[in-house]
């Protein structure tokens, strides 16, 4: 078996006496779309935060692309190629859609101090890349619109587009279909498949089971901070532990 792109071994996270994550192990292979599902309070977002470096883990180790990243902060992990979106969405609300994508491109290519001051952020090459990403996320019509004026669903696409603009190897999407209509969710799933086709591996946290089942190649099911099932969606759907966790 080839080395996984992301490997988490026995990752734990405690909040005081509460075990939010209990010895969670998972692997993500390059090129796959992996789903992470579970009921409310299962620890999905905590696991995401630990993988992205937004939250230090209390125990265990995490490797990315062969690098030990357990002790690295979020910005170092991002520069190694891990991009993420947030459950509540975080965009530059005072910028236009295109400027958000250009910001992703510019910050993604930050470089040394000298390059951070002299590197272009709105050159021909950057504008061409921005156009390509805007097309990918079906945002060309809103390119010059101020993000704050857009519906939440479109803002989520903007956030994902900006994450892709940082040129990651791994994209972590935190509930990207939340608040979307069925049609919008299907459309977004198609976008995620095209993101994968660009060589970007995707991990998705999702509450929308239909979206997760249709989109992902493989699923992990997290309940009370522990992985209770793993496998292709069709297999996971039939797993008695999963059925019990969701239906009680």
């Amino acid at each position: 078996m080839s080395q996984p792109l992301l490997l988490a071994e026995s990752v734990s996270r405690n909040f005081g006496g509460l075990k939010a994550l209990d010895q969670v192990s998972l692997h993500v292979s390059a090129g796959e779309i992996l789903g992470l599902i579970g009921p409310n309070g299962a620890g999905k977002s905590t696991l995401f935060n630990c993988l992205a470096g937004s939250l230090p883990s209390s125990g265990g180790r995490i490797q990315f692309n062969g690098h030990e990243i357990t002790r690295l902060g979020a910005s170092r992990r991002a520069r190694l190629g891990i991009a993420r979106t947030f459950q509540l969405g975080k965009v530059f609300s005072t910028m236009t859609v295109k400027e958000n994508v250009l910001a992703g491109l510019g910050i993604g290519a930050y470089g040394s101090f000298l390059r951070s001051v002299t590197g272009r952020v709105k050159g021909e090459s950057e504008l061409a890349q921005a156009r390509e990403i805007l097309d990918l996320f079906q945002l060309h019509d809103e390119a010059e619109t101020l993000v704050a004026t857009l519906p939440i669903g479109v803002q989520r696409r903007v956030e994902s587009a900006r994450a892709v603009a940082t040129n990651p190897r791994l994209l972590l999407l935190d509930e990207p279909a939340a608040g979307l209509t069925h049609g919008e969710a299907e459309s977004f799933a198609e976008i995620v498949r095209r993101v994968r086709a660009r060589g970007i591996t995707v991990v998705v946290i999702e509450h929308n089971m239909r979206f997760a089942m249709d989109l992902t190649d493989r699923l992990y099911v997290l309940v009370q901070g522990r992985i209770i099932a793993e496998g292709p969606p069709a297999t996971v759907r039939e797993d008695p532990d999963v059925v019990r966790a969701y239906l009680g």
Binding site: G73, S75, M95, V117
Partner: protein, 312 residues
């Protein structure tokens, strides 16, 4: 208050020298120059607030240290005004970075009052140190330096060489800040940090480096303003930052906390009100009181300042 000191004024108490009998030209020039000085101080202060959400009172201490270091270099090394100015900016910038690492970095997640208390404490410490005899001492030192720039008249505005230096420095600083904010990856990272630190980190912004550079440049501007004010008023004192501490606060609140260009515009509005009213009515209205009256009036009708967003 910033503005040329009248000879009869006691040390450290600075006021507008132009009387009602003076012509409009010098008054307007005084407004422009005072607005420029307020702008220089307020932009640095706003840059720090915009990123860290800290009311950076010790910025006024950095301003005073910049003036003191500028004077020290000018009087001990035969290098002239501009190298002294650069040295002061460098020292002020380093001091700003030190303030972040010694003070703010450890209390950013604490309740909002905590970093403010740290800032006030650092300001008092800096001022007390400057009062020591081996530094400035309790007296006022003169800072009579020639900038080498020419005096010039433009559209009825007559500028002395130091006024020219102030106007040119402000223009250069504003242009540089605009370019940095809008045309550089560093500026993008600052904007990301000012919106949300977690988001900025997730995009790969090297947070510590970006904040340190922000503190360095913002503080260097305070050092620049310190030297320019010191030469303009021919005075350096341990307490010269006191007036700046609250006057800069007025400017950044008027402009809308965190709004750099709002602060710049507010700086000129405040200067115009202060000098316009005090020149027109003589000593009837104290100049500092005018500034605060303007602040209170504007905040009554525009609670988030002239150009700012709601604070929370």
């Amino acid at each position: 208050m910033i503005g040329r000191r009248a000879p009869e004024e006691p040390s450290g108490h600075i006021t507008n020298a132009h009387s009602a009998s003076e012509t409009v030209g010098p008054t307007l020039a005084n407004i422009v120059v005072t607005g420029c000085l307020y702008t220089l101080i307020a932009i640095g202060l706003t840059m720090v607030y915009g990123m860290l959400r800290v009311l950076h009172i010790v910025h006024a201490g950095v301003f005073a240290v910049g003036a003191a270091v500028g004077l020290l270099i000018f009087t001990t090394a035969p290098v002239g005004f501009w190298p002294s100015l650069l040295g002061a900016m460098l020292a002020a910038g380093v001091m700003g970075v030190a303030i972040y690492y010694v003070g703010y970095r450890w209390v950013l997640d604490a309740p909002r009052g905590t970093p403010l208390l740290v800032s006030i404490g650092l300001f008092i410490t800096v001022q007390s140190l400057l009062e020591k005899e081996f530094l400035i001492g309790p007296h006022v030192e003169g800072f009579d330096a020639a900038t080498g720039l020419p005096a010039f008249t433009l559209g009825g505005f007559a500028f002395t060489p130091i006024q020219t230096a102030i106007v040119v420095s402000t223009a250069v600083v504003c242009a540089a800040v605009w370019l940095l904010l809008n045309r550089s990856r560093l500026g993008l990272s600052w904007r990301a940090l000012s919106e949300d630190m977690n988001m900025a980190r997730s995009l790969g912004v090297p947070t510590e480096r970006a904040v340190a550079i922000n503190m360095f440049l913002g503080s260097a501007m305070a050092g620049l303003a310190g030297v320019l004010v010191a030469v303009y008023e021919n005075a350096v004192s341990a307490h010269m930052g006191e007036v700046v501490a609250y006057k800069a606060f007025v400017v950044v609140v008027l402009g809308g906390l965190g709004s750099i260009w709002g602060a710049a515009v507010a700086a000129f509005i405040l200067a115009a009100f202060e000098i316009g009213i005090s020149t027109t009515f003589g000593g009837l209205f104290p100049r500092d009181a005018i500034g605060f009256a303007v602040l209170i009036l504007i905040l009554l009708f525009m609670p988030t300042g002239l150009f700012g967003k709601r604070l929370d």
